[in-house]
């Protein structure tokens, strides 16, 4: 048991990675064996990330050194700096690990029925497990180059999953756009890694943060990292690929790809808070993040209002909700240099942004799954052709209502709790921010009313009279996310105190992050 806890950070990455390559072998034993295997592996990953999280919240940052004589031997005796690949799990990493594993589990269970008739399912599940492994890897790693490698695994598997149903032209196109955008983003990250290595001869995030001088080259590297990770997380003004990619994503993968882009948002927070911390020009970067957040919110929601493709509408909301997270964290970042302001509202703002990340992964994932369920049953995503589906697809309708109310911030759902935290704290920085956020929230409700009205209400349409309820595994997949949403809605205080504030404090405590690897007081 002790050994399991010590090795759990690497196991959470290595188990899905190994399972990904075992899946084709399992596929030769039959589809049922393979599906069970995949779901079991993801359940194990879920348990592992919870073990990691418990350990992190109880005993502080967990460091795991790969290939060393001991898992916590960060700096070899003959060297002054860390040379091995180091996993460093802090509150934020553990938090986003839980998010990624939960969404991956729900998506995998959902896909069992949804993908039953597709060809090449072995490859599908391989890619899904690779995506899950890379998602957790990005959060857990303490090494910049390792981060790049996981980003690339994420891009390739994500693009392949987006383009998986190659019989649809939009799927292929979405996959292509995703792969070129994320390749360039990853190359920008690689350039900045080269810039750090050229200056400091280091690759470890904590070690670079310790040695950081904030030179001109570091500024260029910061610009590249911020833009690359903003792009990967799908913030305006480089959000263009998001709707193209998520909309055609096969089966239960669209929430997983969405969680993957939220993971990239987590990597952005890691870079800004843990790598640069107080050394960067806080107000500039803070306001860049805030403006990106406001633009994402507003453009995302206004573009969503006019969509008639149900999943495309939801993906524009993904952009819009990402704006809230950026707004919250940006407000905290802008005042990071001022301890009083941080204590008064900055910490609250960051906590609101981070809480919104996990809330969104659940209810947005749920909505994307309901959109896919409509496509699965009707063969079309066009809202103009739908109507009266609430009669035949009761479960989907119920899950849709939960997701739609939560995302619009209607009390008592968790979307309201996290948005409330963002409104309250951003108001202190500038009241305009809060007003825009409120208007966007209203427009979110308006556009989901449109979906509900167009798809689920109204008279029964004759062409959809034979539509039946979705298969069991799809209900279970949606049910997991719906249950998580409802739980988070009913006990927001508990969730915020146990997992959100530790993640926030991990971001704010840069010295703690550095000392976990570099030693010292």
């Amino acid at each position: 048991m002790e050994a399991l806890i010590t090795h759990s950070p690497i196991l959470a990455i290595a188990v899905p990675l190994l399972a990904a390559f075992l899946t084709p072998l399992m596929g030769r034993l039959g589809p049922r064996v393979r599906d069970t295997f995949v779901v079991l592996v993801l359940a194990v990953v879920q348990i592992l990330v919870i073990i990691v999280a418990r350990e992190v919240y109880a005993n502080g940052i967990q460091v795991y050194v790969l290939g060393a004589a001991g898992p916590s031997l960060a700096i070899p005796e003959t060297h002054m700096v860390p040379v091995r690949i180091i996993l460093e799990v802090d509150g934020l990493g553990a938090f986003l690990g839980i998010m990624g594993a939960t969404v991956a589990l729900a998506g995998a269970i959902y896909s069992i029925s949804c993908m039953k008739l597709e060809t090449g399912q072995d490859r599908f599940y391989t890619l899904m497990l690779l995506l899950a492994a890379s998602m957790i890897g990005i959060q857990y790693t303490g090494d910049l180059f390792n981060l790049f490698v996981f980003l690339e695994i994420l891009s390739i598997s994500g693009a392949a999953l987006a383009a998986f149903r190659t019989r649809f032209v939009d799927a292929v196109e979405g996959g292509f756009k995703y792969v070129i955008v994320s390749t360039i983003a990853a190359l920008l990250v690689l350039i900045s890694i080269g810039m750090f290595y050229g200056q400091y001869n280091l690759l470890n995030i904590a070690a670079i943060a310790d040695a950081m001088q904030y030179t001109a080259i570091d500024k260029i590297a910061l610009a590249l990292l911020v833009v690359a990770l903003l792009t990967k997380s799908g913030a305006v003004p480089s959000h263009w690929w998001v709707p193209d990619t998520y909309t055609p994503a096969a089966g239960g993968t669209s929430p997983i790809i969405y969680a993957a882009s939220l993971t990239c948002l987590g990597a952005l927070f890691r870079v800004v808070f843990s790598l640069y911390g107080l050394k960067l020009s806080l107000s500039v970067v803070g306001w860049v993040v805030i403006v990106a957040g406001l633009l994402s919110m507003f453009i995302g929601v206004t573009m969503a209002l006019r969509q008639t493709d149900v999943k495309r509408l939801m993906t524009y909301h993904a952009i819009s909700q990402e704006g809230y997270m950026l707004l919250g964290v940006g407000v905290g970042l802008a005042v990071l240099g001022n301890p009083q302001a941080v204590a008064a509202y900055g910490r609250e703002a960051i906590a609101g942004g981070i809480f919104h990340v996990i809330n969104n992964a659940f209810f947005k994932g749920l909505l994307l799954l309901t959109g896919e369920a409509l496509f699965f049953q009707l063969g079309t995503r066009d809202l103009n052709k739908m109507g009266g589906l609430g009669r035949n697809m009761k479960w989907t309708c119920a899950f849709f209502i939960i997701g739609a109310l939560a995302i619009s911030g209607v009390p008592p759902f968790n979307g309201f709790a996290s948005k409330l935290m963002i409104y309250e704290s951003s108001f202190h920085l500038n009241p305009m921010l809060t007003i825009i956020a409120l208007v966007v929230s209203i427009m979110t409700l308006a556009s989901f009313t449109k979906v509900f009205q167009a798809a689920f209400t109204g008279p029964e349409q004759p062409q959809f009279a034979a539509v039946s309820s979705v298969p069991l595994s799809m209900k279970v997949g949606m049910g997991i996310l719906a249950a998580a949403t409802v739980l988070f809605s009913l006990f927001p205080q508990f969730v915020v105190d146990t997992i959100v504030y530790p993640a926030t404090d991990a971001l704010l405590n840069q010295t703690g992050y550095i000392n976990a690897v570099m030693g010292g007081a």
Partner: protein, 117 residues
């Protein structure tokens, strides 16, 4: 003069990166976009390798050699990893272009576009 020679790899990096970015941004043909990405990738790889260069250095296959200049092995390992990943992404992009061509009969980014707005 010597500064030019020591900085020659970085000048080449800048030139390659500019060529790559120009191709990516200006060419509408999907395969040309991929070519631009590959050139940009080559620039990044060259950048990494040149970072590890030491004057009169030798290949880093020695154990604790003292008094001998060795080029840094870590950037080489990073470059190799990036090349491997580059192969995978290029294969992926080209496969998707083949599929796009099968669906639409076009390799032009504008004419083969099916979703927008």
């Amino acid at each position: 003069m010597s500064t030019i020679i020591t900085n020659a790899p970085f000048i080449a990096v800048a030139a390659l990166a500019c060529v790559g970015i120009y191709i990516m941004l200006s060419q509408r043909n999907l395969i040309k976009i991929v070519m631009g990405i590959t050139i940009f990738e080559a620039a990044v790889n060259l950048f990494l390798v040149s970072l590890g260069y030491r004057n009169d250095g030798i290949a880093p296959i020695f154990t604790n050699a003292t008094g001998i200049h060795m080029v840094l092995p870590v950037p080489q390992a990073m470059t190799l990893t990036s090349i491997v990943i580059g192969v995978a992404t290029t294969a992926m992009m080209l496969t998707l272009i083949v599929l796009i061509y099968r669906h639409t009969g076009e390799t032009d980014a504008k004419k083969s576009r099916r979703v927008k707005g």
